[in-house]
Amino acid sequence: MKTPALASSNKGFALNLTVLLALLVLVFPSSMDIFRLNMMGKYLSYAFVAMGLVLCWGYGGILSLGQGIFFGLGGYCMAMFLKLEASTPEYTASQTTPGIPDFMDWNQLTELPWFWEAFKSFPLTLVLILLVPTVFAYFFGLCMFKRRVGGVYFSIITQAIACIMTILIVGQQGYTGGINGITDLKTCMGFDIRTNGAKLFLYYLCVFLLVLAVLLCTWVSRSKAGRLLVAIRDDEQRVRFSGYDVANYKIFVLCFSAFLSAVGGAMFTLQTGFMSPSFVGIVASIEMVVFCAVGGRMSIYGAIYGTLIVSVAKTAISENFPELWSLLIGAIFIGCVLVFPKGLAGLYADHVMPFLSGLDGRLKGAFRGAREDREAQIEALRDVPADKVLLGVPPQFLSGDGMDGIDDGRSLS
C-alpha cells in the first residue's frame, strides 16, 4: 500500500521533472536564438558533472577536485573520433603525411599512434567514451579507497592527478594536440555539427541524456546504496561494522560520477566542436564543484539549476562588466558558502516550499496529516546543534528532491 509520504514524494518527483522539462524543452528553445541555445546546451553538459558530484560529494562525502579529468577524458574520446573524421586525406592533402590529424603532422608524426586506431569506429568510440573514464575512476578509486585515503587528502590527491593529466596532455602534444586541444572538428558520421540544425539536434540530445541521467541519479539516490552513501559520509567506520565494504561503495560512486562526467564531456565536444586541456585542469574542476555547491550539494535538480545559473551569470557579467566578473563570481562563491550553505535547493526548501505547501494545504486537506508529521520533525530538528543540521540531511531540505526515500519515505503504516 502506498503511504501518503511516498505518494507525495513521487508527486514531488513528477513535478520537479516536469518543471525541468518545461524549462529545457519549451522555455529555452522558444525564448533564445540558436547561439544562446547552444550555450545553454554547453552549460547543460557541465550539469552532468555537477550531478555526479551531488552523489559523490553530497551523498558520499567524497569531494573530488578532479572531475574535470573524467569530463576531459570523455570529451577527448569524442574529439579524437571527430578529429579523425575531419582529417581525411583530401582535407589534409597539404601535410607531409596526409590523413592524420594536423597537429600530429606538425609534431613530425608520420603515422597514427596505435591508441588512436580505435577511434576510427563510431560504436567503439561510444563505448570508449563511457569506458575509459569509468575504468580510470575505478582504478584510481581502488588505489585510494582500498587504502582508505579519504576526506581532504583525497581532494588534494585528485588535484595532483588533474595536474599530472594536464602536464601529460600538454606535453605529449604529438598525440593529444597539446595545449591547443583538439580543434576544428567538423562532422560526426557525415553530419556537419556546426550547422544550426545540428546544434538544435544536439541540444535536444543533451536534454534527453540529461533527463536519463536525472532518472538514473534519482534511482541510485533512492536505493539502499544511496542511503548507505549518506551513512558512509556521516560515519564511515560504523558502516564497516554493519558489515559493508565501504571502499566498494566509494569506488562505485566515483565511477558513477565519472561515467556521468564523461557523457557531459562528449556532449560538450559535440556542441562546441573542440576539446581543450583546460577542462582537465584544476580550475575547471573546482568550478564544477562550485556549480554543485551553488545548486545545493544534496539536490540533483539543484545541480542542474546551479550550473545554469552560475554559468549564465558568469557569461552575463563578463559580457557587461568584463573587468569585474571575477570579483562578482568570487563574491557569489563566498556568499553561497556563508549565507546559503545548502545552495539553491536549500533556499527553495526553506522559503519557497513552505509557502507552496501552505497554499496547497489550504486547497486540499488530504495530505495534512503527513505534512504535520514532517513539520513536527522540522521543529524537533531546530533543537539539534547547527553543525549537525548542516552536515546532515535536514528533512525539509530533502522533500521534493528526489531523495525523500532517505528520510521521510516509506514509513510502514
Binding site: 541510485v220 536505493s223 542511503r227 551513512a231 560515519d235 554493519s242 559493508y244 524537533a380 549537525k388 528520510d407
Partner: protein, 247 residues
C-alpha cells in the same frame, strides 16, 4: 590430549601506540555460548581489546582466532561476515536515518554494491525489522529519526542493529552506561534474552550488572591479564581488590 575447541582464542595479543603498549601479551579463550565480562580500571585496555577483535585497530603481534578463522588479517566487514558483531561505548548509530532504516541497513542482505542498488524492501525485511524493534522496545519509534531518540534508546537501537546481524560472537562495550535504573533493568532482561545461543563479551563497570550476567570474568590491568575466573573467585582475588574493586 585433544585441544579443546573454543569459540574465540586470543593469544599473545599486543598492540603498541608509539611505544606505549595498550594491550600487552594478552591471552584468553571464550567458549561457545559463554558470557564473558571484561572488567578493569580505566585505561586497562578493555576497549582496545574489542577494537582489536573487530578490526578497528590492527594488532602489532599476536593472534585472534574465531571458530578457526584468523581475524587479525581480515577487514572490518569481513570480520562482521565471519559472525562477530560489536556495540560501541558511545551509541554509534546513523543519526540521520530513521530507526527503521538503521535496522534495515544492518540487515545482512544486499551488502554488495549492486545488491544494495537493487535491494528491495520486501515483506521479509519488514517483518524482521519489526521483530527486532519489538525486542528492543522501539516498535513505536520505527519512523522516528534516530537522532531524536533518548540516550538509552540509542543504546538499544545499537543493540538491535547488532541483533539483526545475528552474530555468533557479540561484543558489548558498556551497554548500560548512561541509563536510568528502569532502563538498566530492561536492558539486563534484553541481554539475557538475546545472548542465548551465542558467545558474548561485555565490558562493564556496574558490578551488580556484571554479577547478574557473567559466566566468567576477565580482569585487565595496564594492558595485561590480571585474573580470570568466576565472579566469586574474582571478588576474593587480593590483586583485583587492590587495583580495582577495593577503591
Amino acid at each position: 590430549m585433544k585441544k579443546k575447541e573454543f569459540a574465540l582464542e586470543v593469544e599473545g595479543l599486543t598492540v603498541s601506540f608509539d611505544g606505549f603498549k595498550a594491550v600487552d601479551d594478552l591471552s584468553f579463550y571464550v567458549d561457545e555460548g559463554e558470557i564473558r565480562v571484561i572488567i578493569g580500571p580505566n585505561g586497562a585496555g578493555k576497549t582496545t581489546v574489542l577494537d582489536l577483535i573487530c578490526g578497528k585497530t590492527k594488532a602489532t603481534s599476536g593472534s585472534i582466532r574465531f571458530r578457526g578463522t584468523e581475524l587479525t588479517k581480515l577487514k572490518e566487514n569481513e570480520i562482521v561476515d565471519a559472525g562477530v558483531g560489536r556495540k560501541f561505548q558511545n551509541p554509534s548509530i546513523y543519526e540521520n536515518l530513521t530507526v527503521f532504516e538503521n535496522l534495515e541497513l544492518s540487515y545482512p542482505k544486499g551488502k554488495k554494491v549492486f545488491g544494495a542498488l537493487f535491494f528491495r524492501r520486501d515483506q521479509e525485511v519488514i517483518d524482521k525489522v519489526r521483530e527486532v524493534a519489538r525486542e528492543i522496545f522501539l516498535e513505536e519509534k520505527l519512523s522516528m529519526k534516530a537522532s531524536l531518540l533518548s540516550h538509552g534508546q540509542k543504546q538499544w537501537l545499537e543493540i538491535g542493529m547488532l541483533l539483526i546481524q545475528d552474530p555468533a560472537l557479540m561484543m558489548l562495550d558498556e551497554p548500560v552506561a548512561g541509563m536510568s535504573v528502569a532502563e538498566r533493568k530492561q536492558t539486563a532482561e534484553l541481554l539475557r534474552r538475546i545472548t542465548k545461543g551465542r558467545s558474548v563479551i561485555v565490558i562493564e563497570h556496574d558490578m551488580k550488572f556484571v554479577e547478574d550476567i557473567a559466566d566468567r570474568v576477565t580482569v585487565m590491568h595496564q594492558g595485561k591479564l590480571l585474573a580470570e575466573g568466576s565472579m566469586e573467585s574474582i571478588k576474593k582475588n587480593q590483586q583485583v581488590i587492590d587495583v580495582y574493586l577495593g577503591q
